[in-house]
């Protein structure tokens, strides 16, 4: 998500950097270009208008005395305004002082509420809560079943007894008491904000549930209508936050920018993939940085921290520095990195990655091949690849279902990488990659 917007901003800012001073006319031009970029990213027309107005005002009124070049100033202003539009500081789920905390999910059909409910439940459980999932979507066939299956997988109980959503919710709260649940996550049926009867039902469910957090689930690929949906739901039941789903696609993501601006409530979480763990808290500042091509190093570090053991990391770093990393080590590290989530997402978080690299889809199949090849080697071969002659190469190729050329090229590449690592550790970064903050 946001790739196209990033690229547009890239272009705009590159052209900007080549200019000296910025008169009103130049600011107008930049503003026009940014407007197009935002509209192409599905940001709501009204939101774009006010965003541009704010940026223009700040850019034109900006003082010349600062140490930043005019271009840098504009970039700074755009970044700040993006952060504001995306929601300022990272929001948090409101927790009730008297458990259980009740979280109610609402939204249009197909937005991903049921999956989000399960993902949220898993996330909260991993952070120490005792969760009860409530299947109050009695509209879609098999919705409750889907929730039960997901609940089963993550070890979270699911309650869904009752003939209508209000009864189900009532019963669920009683069940939560019995189970001692600290959080109750209620999945509701998808509904159009213009369906008066269903919106009324949602109000009634809300009255019974008394949620501490009512979250609107929004699909990242939603277009201009996102704001109308958000406004209507906010008016009907009062929203406390938003969950953005399917951001792992190539959707422009404008809905994210629009919704917060229009209802003033933060985007709290984002669904980032098909697996139930693909769910993370939404950080406006990091998202703003990603849009502007500044990468998202903080998220990258967090993910790395979770995947890597600190001691192992230290060992790995030492080996890398001395150029001693073997294929064996590499295999281990690769497996750990894969735990960090889809490689595609990780690449998006690296600052300064050239556009072409970011856009081509990382073929995880290639990585599987690499893994297979290394696994087909003996431990000695992994430690000393020089051992690998023609017949060994053939054996490895056969064992991994690849060709001798594949094996050969991997060995060559690895050698190159080892040399690169030695260079990097000496503080010199190879061309094309950003300087490490060492």
């Amino acid at each position: 998500m946001f790739d196209t917007l990033s690229d547009r901003f890239d272009g705009i800012f590159q052209r900007l950097r080549s200019r000296g001073r910025l008169g009103d006319r130049e600011v107008d031009e930049v503003a026009r270009e940014i407007r197009i970029a935002l509209l192409e990213a599905d940001v709501n027309v009204s939101v774009v208008k006010s965003f541009i107005a704010r940026v223009k005002e700040r850019a034109q009124g900006a003082e010349v005395t600062t140490s930043l070049s005019p271009a840098q100033q504009v970039i700074k202003i755009v970044h700040e305004e993006l952060v504001t539009t995306l929601g300022g500081s990272t929001g948090k789920l409101a927790m009730s002082s008297k458990p259980p905390t009740v979280v109610m999910l609402a939204g249009l059909q197909g937005s991903g509420k049921t999956t989000a409910a399960a993902k949220l439940a898993r996330h909260l459980q991993a952070n120490g809560s005792r969760v009860l999932l409530v299947g109050a979507d009695l509209q879609r066939p098999a919705a409750v079943e889907q929730l039960r299956v997901l609940g089963d997988r993550i070890g979270v109980p699911v309650f869904s007894e009752g003939r209508d959503p209000v009864k189900v919710t009532k019963g669920a709260l009683k069940q939560a008491d019995r189970l001692g649940s600290t959080v109750v996550v209620v999945d509701t049926a998808g509904r159009l904000q213009v369906d008066a009867a269903l919106m009324d039902e949602l109000r009634r469910v809300g009255k019974v549930a008394q949620p501490d957090d009512t979250l609107l689930v929004v699909d990242a690929m939603t277009g201009q209508e996102a704001v109308h949906v958000a406004e209507a739901f906010d008016e009907a039941v009062g929203l406390d936050g938003v969950v953005l789903t399917k951001i792992d696609g190539d959707a422009r993501g404008g809905a994210a920018l629009s919704v917060k601006e229009v209802i003033g409530k933060p985007i709290l979480f984002a669904g980032t993939g098909e697996k139930i763990e693909d769910f993370e808290p939404f950080h406006p500042d990091r998202m703003a940085s990603r849009i502007l091509g500044m990468g998202d190093v903080l998220t990258l570090i967090e993910k790395a921290e979770e995947a890597f053991d600190k001691e192992e990391a230290q060992e790995a770093e030492a080996k890398l520095r001395k150029g001693e990393m073997t294929l064996e080590d590499f295999l281990d590290q690769m497996r750990q990195v894969r735990k960090m989530g889809p490689l595609q997402n990780l690449v998006g978080m690296l600052p300064g990655v050239p556009k072409e690299l970011r856009q081509t889809e990382v073929d995880e199949g290639e990585l599987a091949k690499v893994e297979a090849i290394i696994c087909s080697m003996t431990p000695q071969e992994r430690r000393r690849p020089a051992l690998i002659n023609g017949s060994r190469r053939l054996r490895i190729a056969r064992g991994s279902g690849t060709t001798a050329q594949d094996v050969n090229s991997l060995l060559k590449q690895f050698k190159t990488v080892q040399q690169l690592m030695r260079q990097m550790s000496k503080g010199k970064m190879p061309k094309g990659l950003p300087q490490l903050p060492v």
């Binding site: 197009i36 192409e40 599905d42 249009l108 197909g110 937005s111 991903g112 898993r122 991993a126 509209q139 066939p141 098999a142 079943e145 039960r148 299956v149 997988r153 993550i154 159009l192 213009v194 699909d219 690929m221 277009g223 201009q224 209508e225 949906v229 792992d248 190539d250 959707a251 422009r252 697996k275 139930i276 763990e277 990258l300 570090i301 790395a304 921290e305 995947a307 990391a313 230290q314 790995a316 770093e317 890398l320 590290q333 750990q336 690449v347 690296l350 690299l357 889809e361 290639e366 990585l367 091949k369 690499v370 090229s409 690895f414 990488v417 690169l420 690592m421 990659l433 490490l436 903050p437």
Partner: protein
């Protein structure tokens, strides 16, 4: 992307991560994690077709788009209505027309093209009132849409026809299939459903009681089973029974996931083993989708050659303007429109009504 680059990036990430962790750039402690991942159970018993029991929906008068959209359209005051009351064609006119198009999700590029053509036409005909301009725009759009190919769903007599449904997650494929199944049964055709969406639990096409409601036999398998085997079995069963129509439901998938798109190609190939059977490859698009709809259409068309679009959820406030770009750039016609969740909430696509609704 080549393996070389992948390895390079991978090690780059590893190095970066290792360096940064070791430097201890002031972060929270590592949380213990032991998440289970989604398990894929094995294919077990062969799929079981079910017997139909409910009567079919009679082919009564088909609902029209205009009737269904009336209530949602009336709720919103249109900038264009205000516009048409004015007496001069000026910059504000063009701004408001542009805005109306953008708000309908028509997109920046298509809007730009439309406006350019419109300004030219307005100048040629010396349009003096905004109302005229609006009418010209509508006429332009209708002309563009009318020129499109056949909007009917192809069903060849005397053979088994297959209509396959694809699209991203949550757009309403299964609901659209249920509606079409009922409609076609009402027209007197024998219909079978292939539940090749084995991702949603139970792989059931319509959940408890749904299959009976539709009244068509369903070929399905276990959750997580290979969708290819479901398609294969459905084709065999259809041939054996001499069914007129097989509707194939597939799991929703993001068009950016290479392996899932490959799986879709495989499903298509399985159907094509019976030459001439595949008559429609329908891409289901949610009317609330923004510009991503075009990217979806491109990728799906590239992968499995789409013959038509089913535009769903038009009973909401979204206008579905993205289909204009899909038709213009990819030549894929919208064949059917969904305007609600029940069986008769399926209407043929009518360019005039659609354009009217775009600006209502």
């Amino acid at each position: 992307m080549s393996g070389a680059t992948a390895v390079l990036i991978l090690v780059g990430i590893v190095a970066l991560a290792a360096f940064l962790i070791v430097l201890g750039v002031g972060l929270s402690r590592r949380a213990q994690r032991g998440e289970p991942t989604v398990a894929r159970p094995e294919v077990s018993a062969p799929p079981v077709p079910e017997a139909p029991s409910a009567p079919a929906v009679p082919p009564a008068a088909r609902p029209r788009l205009r009737d269904r959209l009336a209530k949602t359209r009336a709720v919103f005051s249109a900038p264009l209505q205000a516009l048409t009351g004015r007496d001069r064609v000026d910059d504000e006119t063009w701004d408001e027309v542009e805005e109306a198009l953008l708000r309908a999700d028509v997109g920046v590029a298509t809007t730009g093209q439309l406006l350019e053509a419109l300004r030219g036409a307005a100048a040629d005909l010396r349009a003096s009132e905004p109302a005229e301009v609006v009418e010209m725009l509508k006429a332009q759009l209708v002309a563009q849409l009318d020129g499109a190919t056949d909007r009917s769903l192809t069903l060849v007599d005397g053979q088994t026809n297959v209509w396959m449904f694809v699209g991203v997650n949550g757009v309403g494929k299964t609901t659209a299939i249920a509606k079409l199944a009922q409609r076609e049964r009402g027209e007197g055709h024998s219909v079978m459903l292939a539940a090749a969406d084995t991702v949603t639990p139970l792989g059931e096409l319509l959940g408890g009681g749904g299959a009976e409601r539709v009244g068509a036999p369903v070929v399905r398998s276990q959750e997580g089973a290979d969708p290819g085997s479901v398609v294969f079995d459905a084709m065999s069963a259809a041939q054996a029974r001499g069914a007129d129509l097989v509707l194939v439901d597939t799991a929703g998938r993001l068009h950016t996931k290479v392996n899932l798109m490959e799986e879709l190609k495989k499903l298509r190939r399985i159907v094509e083993r019976t030459p001439g059977a595949l008559q429609e490859m329908l891409l289901v698009i949610d009317a609330t989708t923004g510009q991503n709809g075009l990217a979806q259409a491109r990728q799906f068309a590239d992968a499995v050659d789409v013959t038509g679009v089913v535009l769903t959820k038009l009973d909401g406030t979204a206008r579905g303007g993205i289909v204009l770009a899909i038709e213009a750039e990819l030549g894929i016609p919208v064949k059917v429109v969904g305007v609600g969740e029940s069986a008769d909430d399926l209407v043929p696509f009518d360019p005039v009504e659609f354009v009217d609704a775009l600006f209502a």
